[in-house]
């Protein structure tokens, strides 16, 4: 395969530079990114000041990203930035997209805000970047922020979907916690975990019964033991569970609903 590529791309050009670069490009096009990165490196090693060197640096950065080597990609991007090349913006955008894919939203946001701050008056480009920021806010379930970004990028479909998302019925963790404080188990049932709720109600009821029985028999040591070993644990645990379950139920719902919109961006 590689030999074939060599023959096709190599023989029609005479210079070493174009031979190397076209070989690297062909490796990139057949998605062998590890090898293409090596070839771009080789090109840059032999011809660091060639007129195509910035192009090679951009492709090297992209190859590193595809080969999942972000540290090296960042290093290449740094070199590209030093040359004030127009390719550096492409590399930065690619890095931002890579960070979004790998859920490293903080880094992605930094890159995109930097890109926006240096962007020309080209409104189309700024809109695209804002759309990316909106996608990040969506993945972080920050719907208000996402709405702001989508307004800036005037993306009507996404805005409509955000309105729907904001209207989604969500469980209040506070209410779940209060419910379980008043009657253990009810908060869990409210959050959708019926069997855990019933279980919590039963174990709490049993330990209260035990305490009452011991107090009636004037057996205060037993009552204290049941209280400290069983009841306090079950009671506090039930409250905490109700709170966690409500949060988790919201997150699951958001994740399910935002997935469709986020997928449409990719």
């Amino acid at each position: 395969m590689i030999l074939f590529i060599l023959l096709v791309f190599g023989l029609d050009s005479n210079t070493k530079q174009s031979f190397l670069l076209s070989f690297a490009d062909s490796l990139y096009s057949v998605e062998d990114y590890f090898a293409s990165a090596t070839e771009y490196e080789r090109f840059l090693y032999y011809f660091p000041t060639d007129s195509n060197s910035d192009y090679a640096r951009l492709k090297l950065c992209l190859s590193y990203l595809k080969a999942n080597e972000p540290t090296k990609a960042e290093k290449t991007f740094g070199e590209l930035e030093k040359t004030f090349s127009s390719y550096s913006r492409n590399a930065q955008l690619a890095l931002a997209k890579y960070y979004i894919q790998s859920n490293n939203y903080y880094r992605a946001k930094t890159k995109i805000t930097e890109l926006i701050s240096y962007a020309s008056s080209d409104s189309n480009e700024v809109q695209k970047l804002n759309r990316l920021l909106g996608r990040i806010a969506l993945a972080e379930f920050d719907f208000q922020q996402a709405e702001n970004y989508f307004t800036l990028s005037s993306d009507s479909i996404a805005l409509k979907e955000i309105q729907n998302l904001k209207r989604l019925p969500r469980k209040s963790p506070m209410l779940a916690s209060i419910l379980s404080t008043i009657l253990p188990g009810t908060g869990e049932i409210y959050s959708g975990h019926y069997w855990t709720g019933i279980g919590a109600f039963l174990v709490n009821g049993l330990s209260i019964a035990g305490i009452v029985y011991s107090v009636n028999k004037k057996n205060y040591i037993d009552a204290t033991l049941i209280f400290s070993i069983f009841f306090s644990r079950f009671y506090l645990g039930s409250r905490q569970n109700a709170f966690d379950f409500a949060n988790k139920s919201n997150e699951d719902l958001f994740r399910r609903r935002t997935k469709i919109l986020i997928d449409s961006f990719n």
Binding site: L7, K16, Y45
Partner: protein
């Protein structure tokens, strides 16, 4: 063991993070039980690998006809680029380039250089198995000591200190003498045999950096006896832990066992059926046994922690030394 773990599960555990517990999971301390087995787990057997029929990594030379851009495949160019990759710490790609150099070159010495650097790249990339195979594939003639030295470096990384030393003692090449001595000393240090390690560096006093190592004899290393720790906890729960430098664990254990003992004594007098008495007596016994076990482990962990800290100080010095022999002589002649 469970009883020991239950008692160690207390707020003071956070103090011991990094010393006796390693890692966090979901904002909690992550502490797998295998860290606290009384007997250490057996090491994987490497002898099987040594006996393994050496895999020839690179195919024999093939015809070099029909190369479209000969300049690109000139060994000297390939070698320069490979060295550049190696020096910029891109070891995986450097290794591939050295393989290319090995394939393209007709000079035996350059071939050897390529092979050695291939091994170095594997070693730097922490692919010890491949590195060992590459160095073992090395043609013996004239380079037997270099081969042994490199094999020993890998044995050291793999934790095979005995084998590493056995290999190192065979080396006679005077050029490698200094590095060999360093590796022998290092292997003793890694085995926590600090006195022997420091003694090795006594003969290397002309080096000001290595001169510091002769003081690391391990004499002033604080140590706790496992027997004393266990005995103390048998007499009074928690005392062994306090002796082993874990005040929080000790007090918590004392509190736990004191409470269960009090309840047991109370039921001994007030419970006719003796059911509750039996339950609490059992619990007390269990916790006490767990505490004794814990005291033993605590003394061991204390010693290990002290030794590891000591070793870290030593390795801070040793890591500054470049263990890679100079292979340039293969290129110049």
């Amino acid at each position: 063991m469970t009883a020991d773990r239950l008692q160690r599960c207390n707020p003071s555990a956070w103090q011991y993070l990094g010393a006796y517990y390693f890692g966090l999971r979901d904002t909690r301390i992550f502490d797998p039980p295998e860290n606290h087995y009384l007997l250490a787990a057996p090491k994987p057997d490497l002898s099987a690998m040594n006996g393994h029929k050496l895999r020839v990594e690179i195919e024999a030379e093939k015809s070099r006809s029909a190369i479209p851009c000969p300049w690109l495949f000139e060994p000297v160019n390939v070698q320069n680029f490979a060295d550049y990759l190696f020096n910029s710490h891109d070891f995986e790609r450097a290794c591939a380039e050295y393989k290319r150099l090995y394939f393209l070159s007709t000079d035996k010495r350059i071939k050897k250089y390529a092979q050695l650097m291939m091994g170095e790249s594997y070693l730097a990339n922490k692919e010890f198995k491949n590195a060992l195979l590459t160095f073992s594939n090395l043609d013996d003639s004239g380079f037997i000591d270099l081969k042994r030295y490199n094999q020993a470096r890998i044995y050291l990384e793999l934790g095979e200190y005995q084998t590493a030393r056995q290999t190192l003692f065979l080396i006679k090449d005077t050029n490698l003498l200094r590095l060999t001595q360093i590796l022998i000393g290092w292997s003793y240090f890694r085995e926590k045999n600090f006195a022997s390690g420091a003694m090795i560096f006594n003969s290397l006093t002309d080096d000001s950096l290595l001169n510091n190592l002769i003081y690391f004899t391990g004499q002033n290393l604080s140590k706790r006896s496992r027997l004393i720790s266990t005995t103390l906890s048998t007499i009074l729960p928690g005392l062994g832990q306090i002796y082993s430098g874990r005040l929080g664990d000790g007090l918590y254990s004392l509190l736990t066992i004191a409470t269960t003992t009090t309840i047991t004594l109370y039921y001994w007098q007030n419970d006719q059926s003796k059911v509750k008495f039996s339950i609490f007596a059992f619990l007390t016994g269990l916790f006490w046994l767990g505490n004794i076990y814990g005291a033993n482990i605590a003394a061991r962990d204390f010693n290990e922690y002290q030794q590891n800290n000591y070793l870290a100080k030593i390795e801070e010095i040793l890591n500054r030394i470049d263990l890679k022999p100079n292979y340039q002589f293969l290129l110049t002649q």
